[in-house]
Symmetry: C2
Subunit: 245 residues, 2 copies
């Protein structure tokens, strides 16, 4: 059996663009994470299969780099493969390419598997038997792995109470919703000019319905740094966005 | 030339379900509106074509009824056709069907065309020439047309400042974002039990970045009523959700 990366085609729909008529960064991350879900599902180790055993995938770290943001109605291809797994973390990689077949971005995602009853990470050596067949180490990483994000010295903080539309199927605040809360703190001109960039995300602690989220923001030259705290004291999510010229 | 309604297939993706593992109501509305955009685009009168003439489509009223909310990874089909147009309003209809081919829902959307420079409605008799070819009056309306929503006597009000992630490609607060702000006021048990329902939405006035939105909520038996005001005094959006047994 010869296994190769799998490719999904996505159209940048108008409701997924921002006021610049280009895919918002959230949309690109959402598409990439969605491809991860569809591909895992198609191969028998998606959330449907896992839920039957009270297990689920939880995103731990994520990085994406793009050379530009695709325009409305552009068709992009997202190619995905699992590069490796260790006891607690498995890594799934992605390239993003345009209609000419040119790669304009890459992403690396690192996942834990959670026992939803015990709320604790599962040893990945107990994975679904066929997982090994899909680990394509030789394809490597398309960009640098997600970086560790240092402490943030906030110059601005906003507070948000987690509501229904923030919550995903796992009953956690949605990974993208955290990201939107952070982007919403940036000057609109910075978002209008966004083009080549890198995002690093680190998901440390889950937040739940009715939790109080404090979103802390610091700007250092061309890097926006964020830390979201749960109920004021627990570090929940960290993020770093590098805006490239 | 014989024209019939057009059908699009949609998979309910995990990031579009809520904690009940079913499509959120927002997701269904979003899918329906997205199909409207794709279909208009494919037929030459979508936002891309309109934008070249400084025109755009604006949603005026919308209604959707479903017998149930489809589960994660279910494939649904959305069939769409334009039933009629008058001087200022054109109506596009939808049915939603499941993999067995059973219709489980319908929707009716009413649109204005806006001159984006003059910020005023355009006479639809000046529409793109081929529009008439796609007006399929004989297919009629799948559900009652969007209802006029009466004044709301709020028992609860929340205030939200419009931020980047609320804004769509038209630089208005996104039609679905208003809906999420309203749903977020409901008791979580009501959303957990949601099944058969009807939503009516009436978009009266646009809201923009940094506007203050007051979301007013009133419950009357099995009907949730909402009104969003822009900067406290302008009625911007009204909504009525009928929760059926």
């Amino acid at each position: 059996m010869s296994i190769t990366p799998t490719t999904y085609t996505i159209i940048i729909e108008q409701q997924n663009t921002d006021f610049t008529f280009r895919a918002s960064i959230s949309t690109l991350i959402s598409n990439v994470l969605n491809v991860a879900g569809l591909d895992a599902e198609a191969k028998g180790f998606g959330v449907s299969a896992l839920n039957e055993d009270n297990q689920t995938w939880v995103l731990s770290r994520f990085a994406i780099e793009v050379d530009y943001l695709p325009k409305v109605f552009e068709k992009i291809k997202i190619t995905t493969w699992i590069s490796d797994y260790h006891r607690l973390i498995t890594t799934r990689n992605f390239t993003l390419s345009n209609e000419k077949g040119e790669i304009f971005g890459g992403a690396v995602s690192q996942w834990c598997m959670l026992d939803t009853n015990a709320r604790r990470a599962i040893d990945l050596s107990k994975l679904h038997e066929n997982y090994n067949d899909y680990v394509l180490g030789e394809y490597g990483y398309p960009i640098d792995k997600p970086r560790r994000i240092l402490a943030v010295e906030p110059s601005q903080t906003i507070v948000h109470r987690a509501v229904y539309s923030d919550i995903d199927f796992n009953k956690h605040v949605n990974a993208l919703r955290y990201f939107d809360l952070m982007l919403d703190m940036l000057p609109i001109e910075m978002l209008a000019k966004a083009n080549s960039l890198r995002v690093d995300l680190q998901y440390i602690h889950e937040c739940y319905l009715a939790d109080t989220l404090s979103v802390n923001y610091q700007q250092q030259d061309n890097v926006s740094m964020f830390e979201i705290k749960r109920n004021e004291d627990i570090s929940a999510v960290k993020c770093m966005i590098e805006w490239r010229p």
